[in-house]
């Protein structure tokens, strides 16, 4: 990353230096160092990375085929309990499938959907936000109206409504969540752009005869990227919970594909005799989401000292 410079959240970008070289690199890396100094946030970042590695390398790590059923191992308890064995450390579900392997494969779904939704939403949000904030006029009015209307829907209800219409499936989840998610980066980008367009470096570029597209893309965007990155990591945690909620309700990923949300739902029928079926996948969600939240808070503190208590 060569161009990102943090702007304070209120939009008063401090980096108004006309010297491009001075604007590039250093503040971003200074903030990243500040982030690294925050040990708890750094540790959380490492946990998130571990989950990513787990998702990518699932076939190499998982001890068993996540979909291999074995009715002799139906509801087998975790290894440390009577009747458990270390080959199936977290026990088995009602179809005798290895819970650990399913959790490892389930990370793929959570992380894929989290990343895909955030990427799609952020791309749309940046484009719409830049257009609204820089072009103003009817473009801004139209985009802002749409944003207001989408914000009027409670998130999960909107997603459930869409999923009900489109039917379950991986790509449908991404679409259903991105439909509303883009509003958030869009609002951030619009606000930052409104502030940035009055900045000296933008006026300097205008005076030098740079076109609108060039100014938006080369001058404004690099300077407002930091808050967008921070918001995206915060939102990622939310998207992962939403996906798990949809899957829990049976509106998400369809069986037999392992997804944490649907694994928790599977365990509901066996609460009395097999607590582990629901508990461990839920724990995985909690751990990933918690790590994302802590890490993103660290990022936010590093990039925007105003948020410090």
């Amino acid at each position: 990353m060569t161009t990102a410079v943090p702007a304070s959240s209120a939009g008063a970008s401090s980096a108004a230096s006309p010297d491009r070289a001075a604007r590039t690199q250093s503040p971003f890396w200074r903030n990243m160092r500040k982030f690294a100094d925050n040990r708890l946030a750094l540790a959380s970042g490492v946990v998130v990375l571990l989950f990513v590695v787990m998702a990518v390398a699932a076939p190499l790590i998982a001890p068993h085929d996540p979909n291999a059923t074995d009715l002799f191992r139906r509801l087998q308890p975790p290894a440390w309990m009577a009747g458990g064995e270390w080959a199936y450390p977290l026990g088995c579900d009602a179809l005798g499938r290895d819970i650990l392997s399913r959790i490892i494969y389930g990370a793929r779904i959570s992380i894929f959907i989290g990343t895909a939704v955030i990427l799609v939403a952020t791309t749309i949000g940046i484009l719409a936000g830049l257009a609204a904030g820089y072009l103003r006029g009817w473009v801004d009015t139209a985009i802002s109206r749409l944003v207001d209307i989408l914000l009027a829907f409670p998130y999960l209800i909107f997603a459930i409504g869409l999923m009900a219409m489109m039917g379950p499936g991986l790509s449908n989840i991404v679409i259903a969540l991105a439909y509303k998610e883009w509003v958030i980066p869009c609002r951030v980008v619009r606000g930052e752009t409104l502030a940035a367009r009055e900045m000296e470096y933008v006026e300097a570029a205008r005076a030098l005869g740079a076109g609108r597209a060039r100014i938006m893309w080369r001058e404004i965007l690099p300077n407002i990227l930091s808050p967008v990155v921070v918001v995206s990591t915060i939102r990622m945690a939310n998207v992962i919970i939403l996906e798990a909620s949809l899957s829990f309700l049976g509106l998400g990923v369809q069986p037999p594909t392992a997804s944490w949300g649907s694994m928790v739902a599977d365990g509901r029928a066996f609460m009395l005799e097999a607590w582990w079926v629901s508990t461990f996948p839920g724990l995985a969600i909690l751990l990933l989401v918690l790590s994302l939240n802590v890490a993103s808070q660290g990022l936010r503190d590093a990039f925007d000292p105003k948020f410090h208590d």
């Binding site: 009027a152 909107f158 409504g161 629901s278 909690l286 918690l290």
Partner: protein
């Protein structure tokens, strides 16, 4: 705030509500599958009968006309017929609504009465063990998936310890003649303490599950804004006046610190409304949320459509109310 300003603000809601209705309408129109076929199911009908039904439902008209009809009907409370119940959708929703309202209110109250004092305490005891514990607690609360937390509570308190009931709103042996249709209120009004206790024992776990995330967020917001307010000049001036500590804390600081809390509380009701679907599903709560989830699997689209519209309109109105409350709390803002 003057009445004129109030009406002006109310009028600003109209385009938003229209947009919301349009999106809900589009959601349903773009649904794959023919509603008439779904409605008829396995019944054998002649093509003429099918055509008549299509005409009755207005499905043979162009989309923009259908949207106008949809809005017109919605304004009259007519959302069509529930395929599954074979009754008007509005009626079915109205039947299930009180249970959802009761659950949401209790969750909200639970969140507010725990989050605000804890947030204030964390701010006052900043950097102590209590403050750090509350930070960890609120982070956990925010990161916890609703549905999992609910199941953990259910497993522990209902299934294993048998302290609280597993599902439902009240046990069958209790009869409460409805007044407000909120069981907790009605049982008290009727003086039926046993029924009240039973209803309370049913609502604790779902309300706790539903309110957890909101409580965690509100606590965080209260703490942050309280810390900010306590650095304000007017708090210093209040100290220089020699006022008692509780007066400075609650009258000078908290009144200002609550302004952001109220705003966030209104925004978070959106999460609460969405959370209803999950919590009601887990705890077998006979409310609107569970009805919607069931209807999705029954492909009962008119009901889903009406419910999504209802939730969105409710959310818009709640935010509007929060705006009004905000101006009451904050005399500087003139609407």
């Amino acid at each position: 705030m003057t009445l004129g300003k109030f009406i002006e603000r109310l009028a600003q809601l109209v385009p938003v509500l229209l947009g919301v209705s349009l999106i809900v309408f589009l959601m349903m129109s773009l649904t794959p599958g023919d509603p008439v076929e779904i409605m008829l199911g396995d019944q054998h009908v002649t093509p003429e009968q099918e055509q008549a039904l299509r005409h009755d439902l207005g499905l043979d008209r162009p989309p923009h006309e259908r949207f106008l009809v949809f809005i017109g009907n919605a304004l009259q409370g007519d959302f069509g017929t529930s395929f599954y119940h074979r009754r008007p959708v509005g009626e079915v929703i109205a039947e299930r609504l009180p249970a959802t309202i009761e659950l949401t209110l209790v969750a909200m109250i639970l969140a507010l009465v725990t989050a605000i004092p804890l947030g204030v305490l964390a701010a006052v005891k900043k950097s102590t063990i209590f403050d750090k514990a509350s930070t960890v607690g609120s982070l956990l609360g925010v990161s916890m998936p609703h549905f999992w937390f609910g199941i953990l509570l259910l497993m522990l308190f209902a299934v294993h310890l048998h302290w609280l009931p597993v599902a439902g709103r009240i046990d069958y042996e209790y009869q409460v003649e409805p007044i407000t249709h909120l069981l907790l209120v009605d049982s008290l009004l009727r003086g039926n303490i046993a029924a009240f206790g039973n209803a309370l024992s049913h609502i604790i776990l779902p309300a706790l599950t539903l309110g957890l995330a909101m409580g965690a967020i509100l606590m965080r917001v209260t703490r942050t804004s309280m810390l900010e307010v306590m650095r304000a000049d007017y708090v210093r001036f209040a100290e220089a006046k020699g006022l008692a500590r509780h007066r400075i804390l609650f009258r000078h600081a908290l009144k200002n610190a609550l302004i952001p809390t109220v705003t966030v509380a209104a925004l978070e009701t959106g999460t609460l409304l969405g959370g209803n679907m999950i919590v009601e599903t887990i705890f077998g709560w006979p409310g609107l949320g569970r009805l919607v989830v069931e209807s999705i699997f029954q492909r009962n689209y008119p009901l889903v459509q009406a419910a999504v519209l209802f939730y969105a309109v409710t959310y818009v109105m709640l935010n509007f109310l929060a705006d009004i409350l905000y101006t009451i709390l904050n005399p500087r803002v003139k609407l």
